[in-house]
Symmetry: C2
Subunit: 231 residues, 2 copies
DNA sequence: AAAGGAATAAAACAAATGTTTCAATTCTGC
DNA sequence: GCAGAATTGAAACATTTGTTTTATTCCTTT
């Protein structure tokens, strides 16, 4: 055992790293405004001044946390995780959805209910200025990948008028589990988005979406130059 | 023009009502912690003391707002809005989804992005003690209605193992539009959940869900006593 | 080993905020 | 019209919180 300082803190991480990790958790749990730098400092076994020293204040810390969280998440679970370009698009979609569930909800990812996954939900609800960068760097490429899979499944003639809602419906199902975890647990405890259920839930969302996509595809090819959606 | 007091406020509402309305908007936009009673008082043309007088503090106000918002929302757009019991379950589902979109996103409802709809999203993300009551009184009956429609569509043999995920997928799509409105607008402006798009989006989610439900139904009836979900 | 910079600790500061207090005003029942 | 209750207005209070300051400790370089 090594003695680093007068406090026996975790030697494997620097103060800056400890602050980032603790801040991700606390910002996620409590939101930007409700989180306090005192609480974060305490959780990170660090001093208040260290936060302002390394991150120039609360906002700077938040921006760094956001970048860190997304970088970690998409590094451990990339958009193309387990996707082989040669595989049929249905299987690519399957891997995409599974990737989303694990990125959002697994302990190795953003930790869903108790962790940094809620940070993402919060940004969806009320984007902060720091989120603009995240959108361009992570979210849009991620969406583009899903759209390209959908194009492979539905044909090139599908316009964005149907493609994008499809993408939204698929992503929406995944994110809803991360968002509404607490309530889902209260209403349907068997489907609580905990580690043990991720595979089953991802598989379900995949099948459900396959059906939905097929239904939309049929709808758009059958009604050629009629009203796009039935009234 | 009538002179009510020294301030020329809206005569049609009592102070208590004005506070409730303003608080719903501000709590929704900023969240419980970030919202300030001073800001709410100003927006309601009321005094700080009036809030504490009528609602016994910030928490009391929040509980009252939550009850008020859900009561209003489910009064104007009941669960069974436009649903005839005699209609085929597919059409009942259609009305159910349309009702959700309008309740969550229309100006007459919770106002989506700019209004009280975000309050609901916040409660899903981090339920407050005041939400327990709301769950029992509004959410669970609402869910039960959807489940009964799904039973009518998929047959009585479908167990909760498939029923509830179906319900979650459907509700998830709807709520995601209310949650992620700001980001959707940035990524797919054509599908921004604004008043003009509600009918089209609801119709899309309905069709998509019809396909999803059918796919799940097939899956569960074909693989009788096999593994419930394909590996 | 010494010096200089980097990092941390502790206290102080100023602004924001929920709550309380008390006087002034308005409303209601008689 | 009046008395008492209900409501509102304005100020004061105590706490929390982000930031800054100053001194001390740790680490690297020479």
């Amino acid at each position: 055992m090594f003695i680093i300082g007068k406090h026996m803190t975790d030697c494997s991480q620097s103060t800056k790293e400890r602050i980032l990790a603790a801040a991700g958790d606390i910002f996620g749990r409590e939101g930007f405004k409700a989180a306090t730098i005192r609480g974060i400092a305490k959780a990170a076994n660090a001093n208040i001044a260290a936060i302002n020293y390394h991150f120039q204040g609360k906002e700077g810390l938040y921006a760094a946390v956001l970048e860190n969280v997304f970088h970690q998440g998409f590094t451990r679970f990339p958009s193309k995780l387990g996707i082989e370009e040669s595989a049929p698009p249905e299987q690519q979609l399957r891997a995409f959805i599974k990737g989303m569930f694990y990125r959002l909800l697994s302990r190795d990812g953003w930790g869903g209910l108790s962790g940094q996954g809620r940070l993402i939900a919060r940004e969806l609800l009320e984007p902060t200025p720091a989120f603009e960068r995240i959108l361009d760097k992570y979210i849009k490429p991620h969406k583009d990948r899903l759209v390209s899979i959908l194009v492979a499944m539905m044909g090139k003639d599908i316009g964005p008028r149907y493609l994008l809602p499809c993408a939204i419906s698929i992503i929406g199902q995944c994110i809803y589990y991360a968002l509404a975890g607490p309530v889902i647990t209260k209403i349907a405890v068997e489907d609580s988005p905990i580690e043990d259920n991720l595979d089953r839930l991802a598989e379900f969302v995949w099948l459900f979406s396959l059906g939905g996509i097929e239904r939309i595809r049929l709808e758009t090819t059958h009604t050629v130059d009629n009203t796009p959606l039935p009234h």
